[in-house]
């Protein structure tokens, strides 16, 4: 498998093979680092109108700590098949793809029949290539805020944020002073809630 084959996040968004993990990690870390920085910048721009509200903005402060973590070399793990980042990027990418599809159809009008790209594979590269575009990062940030709001309580939000910062279940359990099983269960509920939130949109 050549370097260029893995030069796209679609590899870890799509079906990530265990053997590719080592090769994909540096790519993911670079991608992640750029994504969170871009997303934070976009969030900042959006929030400029109410500048003093910055401190209370959960999504922005989350992105602040994601960036801080990334600067310290702390990255969410890639080997978790149900990683929340992966879920977030997939949900955002599907949404972006659906939007792009709508725009294309509008532009196309009658006549030529275009080949619909497969949203699970090549199509994603249009939006989420090996470098995150600022537009995509902005969508990730928005989607992140929406998903965070979809969680019913702060206990779940807390676990979701720490998990996305790259902490392990054991570390989160220790910090929150609860059982490891509780962290795992909350993560499960978070994934199910997010997958469900996504459904009506798709």
């Amino acid at each position: 498998m050549s370097e260029s084959d893995q030069g796209s996040v679609t590899h870890w968004i799509g079906d990530l093979k265990v053997g590719d993990l080592a090769a994909a990690r540096p790519l993911w870390e670079r991608y992640y680092g750029k994504l969170v920085v871009l997303a934070r910048a976009r969030l900042r721009d959006l929030r400029k109108t109410g500048a003093e509200a910055d401190e209370e903005d959960a999504a922005l402060s989350a992105f602040n700590s994601f960036c801080a973590g990334a600067a310290l070399g702390k990255f969410p793990k890639l080997d978790d098949r149900e990683d929340l980042w992966k879920l977030l990027v997939v949900i955002t990418a599907r949404k972006a793809f659906a939007q792009a599809g709508r725009e294309r159809r509008l532009k196309r009008g009658g006549g030529r029949r275009a080949v619909e790209p497969d949203p699970e594979a090549g199509g994603l590269e249009l939006i989420a290539g090996d470098e995150p575009t600022p537009e995509f990062a902005a969508m990730v940030a928005e989607e992140f805020q929406r998903l965070l709001d979809a969680l019913p309580d702060d206990g779940l939000r807390d676990v979701a944020l720490r998990r996305m910062e790259g902490y392990t279940c054991d570390e989160i359990a220790e910090r929150l002073g609860c059982a490891r099983r509780t962290v795992a269960r909350r993560l499960d509920l978070i994934r199910k809630t997010w997958s469900h939130v996504e459904e009506p949109a798709s």
Partner: protein
Amino acid sequence: MTNPPGGRAADELSLARKVHAACERFEADWKASGRPRVEDYLGPPDDPDRPALVEELAGLEIELRRTAGEEPRRREFLRRFPFQADVVARLFPDETEADRPPENATACPTTVKLDRPSASTPPTGGERFGKYELISELGRGGMGIVYKARDTALNRFVAIKMILAGALADDGARARFRREAALAAKLEHPNVVPIYDVGEQDGFLYFTMRLVEGGTLGDHLESFRADPTAAAGLIETLARAVEYANEQGFIHCDLKPANVLIDRDGAPRVTDFGLAREAYRQSDLTASGAVLGTPSYMAPEQATGDRQAIGPATDVHGLGAILYEVLADRPPFRMNTTMETVMQAIYCDPLPPSRRRPDVPRELEYICLKCLEKAPADRYPTAEALADELARFIQGDPIDASGPIQKLKRWVRREPEIVARLAGLGLVSLLTEVNYRFVSSTPNAAARFRVQLVLGLWAALTLLFQWLQRREWGRDRLQGAWIVGDIACLTMLLWILEDLDTPLLIGYPLMVAASGLWFRARLVWLTTGLAIAGYVALYALAGLDWGRGSLGWSQPDALPFANVFVVCLALCGYVVARVVGRIKAVGRYYEIRRGG
């Protein structure tokens, strides 16, 4: 299994939410007060989500206890959750089953394959089980798990039911169960699922029967509900099959929609004949309480454990319960806890189906309620008599509907709160009248009028609360308001009588005692508090009159007894609350034994 794929994710999410909520409460309670019991967070025992709840909650308890330095054992959890043996096995993945006696290796020397990590874990799909190849799980019940399987010797598909460890207590019970199943295998009727084989394999008792793949009656209720004649025809068919088995000496004891299978041609077939019965006979042994029937469909003689009374009329009750669910879209008895459901099965008549669905034909409702009569003697004596009656209904002939006395009896049992109040009020009103006309030497027309007025108001209030109750008003609020209304009426009555020395004061302790029938210690204390408040108010009013030195308070001697009376009321409340507490403790014990 039968969910459409679209609703699957939503179901999974709601299950995850439910499990999450229960676990969060459990962990919070654990931190706050130490040692909550998993069993208190599970909800009703027939909840299909129970295995998932048990898995997370028990897993949480195990982790919390390990953190506290304890070493929870698999054996303990198997005892607490005997019907979730597979779940418990997952929670203790590396503990080997040391509790089991060694298997009798000579039983099936050629085919036994003991390569599962634990012999108490039921096998899963795709595995080989003796001469059977398990294909997929069809369902689970209190007693065991049913799989679709292929008989490799005869090359045919069968349904195989594994009896879970714990459903039958000891070797004697297992031997009897096998004998009973062997006898039941002789039953031959087009509407009875035939038993092929019974045996033991890898430590599991099992029996095989014909594979009926159209699902249970529970999946087909809707189609019968729209057509009362079809419903009557269905129950008639079932009744004739039950009659056949009853004649051969088999009593089913657990008739319910889940035990009626519908085959591809739409014909109903009764399953598990003769098996619940044997398990039932063993119900004084550990954990087999769960196979004593299903509370929501249970006949009172089963619920009270009156084994002598179990007979063909028990199965008539079961058939009536199926008919009830077909007509009313819910089982005859259903409350929040097993204890309340069982209490309902013993004492209360179900709401007539027409209350829930006004288009239910009256005659069919009569037949249904007659099957569900509390005393076996009041039901149809045999399933055949029921079948004949249903046949008359289908043909449009007059049925042998029960008379007004039976209806009155049912009403009394169905609405005990109303009947007790109205009867009591009527009696007091009558006695007031008698006293006024014949007994009293100085009749007081004005007082009589006011007393009767208050009694009338009280009766009206009772009917209002009954109406609210039927509209499913919040239970707790309603009960609280009802108590306040009762105490207010009684206090008003006593105030009119202007006499603290009246025997009617017995009304206060009477109400405290009656509040115990709701099985809520909180309500008992509320009643006690209100009774004391009412009495103190009367006392103050009497004192006021006395202060003016005019009418009332003819017996100042009574005053010193007031404090004694108040203390006695409080004591009465305490005793009733204790009784309620004890009954609930027994109820909880029963619930644990029913299957964790």
